[in-house]
Symmetry: C3
Subunit: 305 residues, 3 copies
């Protein structure tokens, strides 16, 4: 879990993922040679901006894991505007850096207008990004931190990479703030490898129908509806493999799948990932059994899809 | 109208169109050889998912008719979430099927929260799709049923096919729930046939400006605004042909045209279709004169555009 | 400023830009030969609809300036529906033309329902476009008119063209009403010239953080967030050149950049433009110092990016 903690601490809100991309590149450089199938590392800023692709063997399926997190941008004076959809509770610790140095400040929320701001010993430069301060907590059954969404997905992708024979892992940007990288990643993957099956490796929500500790979620729908026959195949593979999982049915929420659904290519997609509670707060919490189930499910899906 | 009734009864909510696609494939297989110009049937799940294209002669214009309908997905317990935007009145009959067998249940709407649910003798499996039970009614002047939007468009496309010499009929998916197939259909059509003129064969609404029985609607705009010069050409063709029609001007509503407008291709598009009353209920009603006018207008437009 | 006045008077709401495109084509035909680097004029209705591209030298950066404006479409009776998001104050003069002749009418706003309408001596044909009547006002320090957004951007693009050596100026359509032309313009530019750097030449808002007369705005974000490293490059170029400018940080608003961000290509983009007050009214006002700064900033950016 040391790697997961490092990932959760890494500041990389939407639009500013470059540092995390560099971290993962270094990680793959250090460890990739010892993996079962060392991947082709596709990283070229002029073609993929701050995204990164790992291509293993003869891929049939692509896994999309977004790098970016929610956060805040400093506006004018003491104002903040959100990056993505953070939960906003006065008192949350926010960290960042501007040309004057390190920042460790406190979120404020105007009780009447709900306007966001910060308290700090000095004014922060407009345009500075702030992210939740990371307080990583682990028990025998849970991990808790900001940004398990989606650093836990990124972590799981790197575990999956260790034994993956055939498949693509795509690390995407901007997911929390409207997307924008998956369209060209998908275009490249489709044109280069004729791959059109996708799995969205991301974290979803605990609800009355999705309970912690009862296995990784296969989402039958959220605000978008995937093609039924593809999702049914995934369910059958999960059932045949005997891997504990739960089915999700929602009318709201979205993921990198939006960009696949809207693309000029016939992508099939399904969201598969563990559920967390305290979504989009500094206290996101996931049950370790669901993490294990998530990794196991991806291992079998990448073999059998 | 027997064919129309069969189409209206066919369950095919967004994401689960595959059965209807198969039905139309069979229909074209049985009847296509006797049409004036037997079409090339383009259907390849790996490239077009559950969509279907009929290509006639040397096409200059593509007609998009969506296969899917609105409906409901069973969530947890007795909850439902909508597929697309159905009108929700307690008591509507909903039908479907899960692994335990046939379902014939009743829609419930919580008076305070407006939460959707169902009443049935047993619990339905989460993820099951439900659609309106079809009560098809015909008079000398009208047809009435659920899903005239857009099974009447599909029916009209199949009538058009009988005499069509040059053109493409594209049967699309997901229109009621945000789209997602027209982008790749349009890409294929544009790349393969250099066609960039589109007509959206769909059903619109009766309003104070669009009256039943006064002819097929040519929409000058809805939530999107088509290119003026293309719409003007269509108006001139309709007027020169002396086909009864009405002009629609709306600030809301959308269609498969959204995916054309946003595409990376210069598509011109115009919505042309009959108007219905009691939109998105089990009681959608269309005047037969408007159906006749719709078919006649498409016949002339496909010749002259 | 005579050219700017002519541009502001020209009726070209979203979807009906063809006349303005023709005007600019004629302008380039008359003046382009005397520019430092006569551009390649790319205009082909079958590929670019009513858009226009000017290609100079070996381009590395594309400038997008939208042609269209907000306005109104006549619905039924005396009703209007908006094109884009105009400010609606009863009494605004609106002009247009239908088959019965010239129209010069007055906007009405129902006090209770906020429904839009018009007062005129006769009924206007449904589907007719209306735009604000132009009252162009100039002082020593300001220009004021309807449609400075974005005719001032178009004007600035034509000034930039006079000395531009390498770059692309793309005149786009539909920006005020959801976009739709930038996707294919960007596709053509990317495929033909391998250009993936964009600047959005448009007009933004005066706010508490952006003041008139203090220089052109470089927007760090609006409703979308551009890639940080690209925006930082632009800031450094502006600072090194000593050109007066202001930084904008917003949580709302959008531009042609939306279509770049969502495209299947890895475009970097940044909004750079003067700020106006009385946005989307007939009284949009911009400080002349900000216009000068905007042009100077574009000149240096097109050289150095």
């Amino acid at each position: 879990m040391q790697l997961l903690q490092t990932l959760c601490q890494f500041p990389a809100p939407s639009g500013a993922e470059a540092g995390l991309t560099r971290f993962i590149l270094d990680y793959v450089g250090q460890h990739g040679a010892s993996w079962r199938q060392p991947p082709l590392v596709v990283h070229d800023e002029s073609r993929f901006q701050d995204c990164l692709l790992l291509v293993f063997g003869q891929p049939r399926t692509a896994v999309f894991a977004h790098l970016d997190s929610i956060g805040f941008t400093v506006r004018y004076g003491r104002e903040l505007v959100p990056i993505g959809g953070p939960e906003c509770v006065a008192g949350y610790r926010l960290v960042g850096r501007d040309s004057q140095g390190e920042i460790d400040c406190t979120l404020t929320v105007d009780e009447e207008t709900e306007a966001l701001g910060y308290e700090f010993s000095r004014t922060i430069e407009p345009g500075t990004s702030l992210t939740f301060a990371c307080d990583f907590r682990e028990t025998t059954t849970t991990v808790q931190s900001c940004y398990l969404d989606n650093r836990l997905g990124v972590w799981c992708a790197l575990q999956l990479a260790e034994t993956l024979e055939h498949g693509i892992i795509a690390f995407s940007c901007w997911e929390e703030h409207g997307g924008g990288s998956v369209p060209y990643l998908a275009r490249f993957i489709y044109n280069t490898y004729a791959v059109r099956q996708a799995l969205i490796m991301d974290i979803t929500w605990v609800t009355e129908g999705v309970r912690p500790g009862q296995g990784c979620v296969i989402s039958l729908r959220d605000s978008l509806i995937p093609r039924r026959s593809y999702v049914e195949r995934i369910r059958r593979i999960a059932e045949a493999a005997g891997i504990q999982h739960q089915l999700e049915v929602e009318g709201i929420g979205g993921s990198d799948a939006k960009d696949l659904q809207r693309s000029e290519m016939p992508w099939d997609w399904c969201f598969v990932g563990a559920a967390e509670d305290e979504v989009h707060t500094p206290h996101e919490i996931v049950h370790k059994a669901d993490i294990a189930s998530m990794l196991a499910l991806y291992q079998v899906l990448l073999r059998e899809l």
